[in-house]
Symmetry: C2
Subunit: 209 residues, 2 copies
């Protein structure tokens, strides 16, 4: 199909498609003349994936490129692919030199240790958690650290479900894409469900008159 048809079928404007081609997040079509190329269903699917990462995941285009490079040239080890995608989609808060950082690092290391989780304390997510505690402390909300064990228990159940989702993929290709879809769409789904659960819990505790 020509680019106009690709635009119609994917719902993405022609100018945006051209931008994605220049940025390398959409593979070029098959050239049929010096000024024309032909696209197929894989392009439609890829455009939908890019839009999911941009619109739902809020990823900048460079992160989208990193994620798609991993999907296109996968490491056979699922754990490694998961790690690469995690890094690409993870927005770390800016690092700080706060003197409170050492105490927060200690708190996070203790938490991981208590949970018995097998993950390096210098993992970007652990560092992000340290950043959250530093920020909370700077606002006088040191007690935020107390909710972490309950959050962690909930996240362990979520992660089990996440890995079951990967294991349920029919093919390697689908499995790799499941990592991306699961992480990005899963974050949005979780945030939405947390809001709904908060509404439910608030109404339970403080019934409206």
């Amino acid at each position: 199909m020509r680019i106009a048809e690709l635009s119609r079928r994917s719902g993405v404007a022609v100018a945006t498609i051209k931008y994605y081609l220049r940025e390398g997040v959409l593979p070029p079509g098959e050239r049929t003349s010096p000024n024309q190329a032909s696209y197929d269903d894989t392009h439609v699917h890829r455009l939908r994936l890019v839009r999911a990462l941009v619109d739902v995941g809020g990823l900048p285009i460079a992160a989208v490129r990193d994620v798609l490079e991993t999907v296109d040239a996968p490491d056979p080890a699922v754990g490694k692919t998961l790690g690469t995608v995690q890094l690409a989609v993870f927005r770390s808060p800016p690092p700080t030199d706060d003197p409170a950082r050492a105490a927060a690092e200690e708190a996070v290391a203790t938490l991981i240790d208590t949970l018995g989780w097998n993950c390096p304390p210098d993992h970007p997510a652990a560092q992000a958690l340290v950043g959250v505690l530093v920020t909370a402390g700077s606002l006088g909300h040191e007690r935020l650290v107390e909710v972490l064990p309950r959050y962690a228990a909930a996240c362990a159940a979520v992660a089990e479900s996440d890995l079951d989702y990967l294991d349920g993929a029919a093919s390697l290709d689908e499995r790799l894409e499941s990592v991306v879809v699961g992480i990005v769409l899963g974050d949005s789904a979780l945030a939405a469900l947390r809001r709904l659960a908060q509404v439910n819990e608030a109404l339970k505790r403080y019934p409206e008159p």
Copy 2:
């Protein structure tokens, strides 16, 4: 203190402080001369709160203003304040006219019904969840809907912890700020813990050689 001292103590550049004053997210200082104003500790604290919302929460300045207006002129009903902050900090995916939307709406309504949650099906978070399912379906990941009950169970536990956190606030002021801190920093903490739990679960299932 003068603006230079406020900048030093908060770690926020003078130009940025002036921008926040213009945008109305930082209350003006007490004017001491036509070109000078004096600031106090409440300004330092407010600047830290603004930075938390911007840096950790990723909120645009207009959303920060909405959130702070609620904190400054609170509704005595905690549930209402929670709702306003939820709306302000919640990034909804763009609405779609996808024909698959009706099926996704049905799936979300059924989920909420099965859970017995007391929350309106037209709540923005429910609509966001519908959007996630539509996007997943457009990528051939219809089966994402199957993870939602397990996610929801985890979120119910998280929401209980969230409301306990609010109930633990010492004063009304602290309680209102807890809503903001809890939602924004809590989202980041959850995302980080989910990543760490995924690493742990992946290493458990696929041990590295």
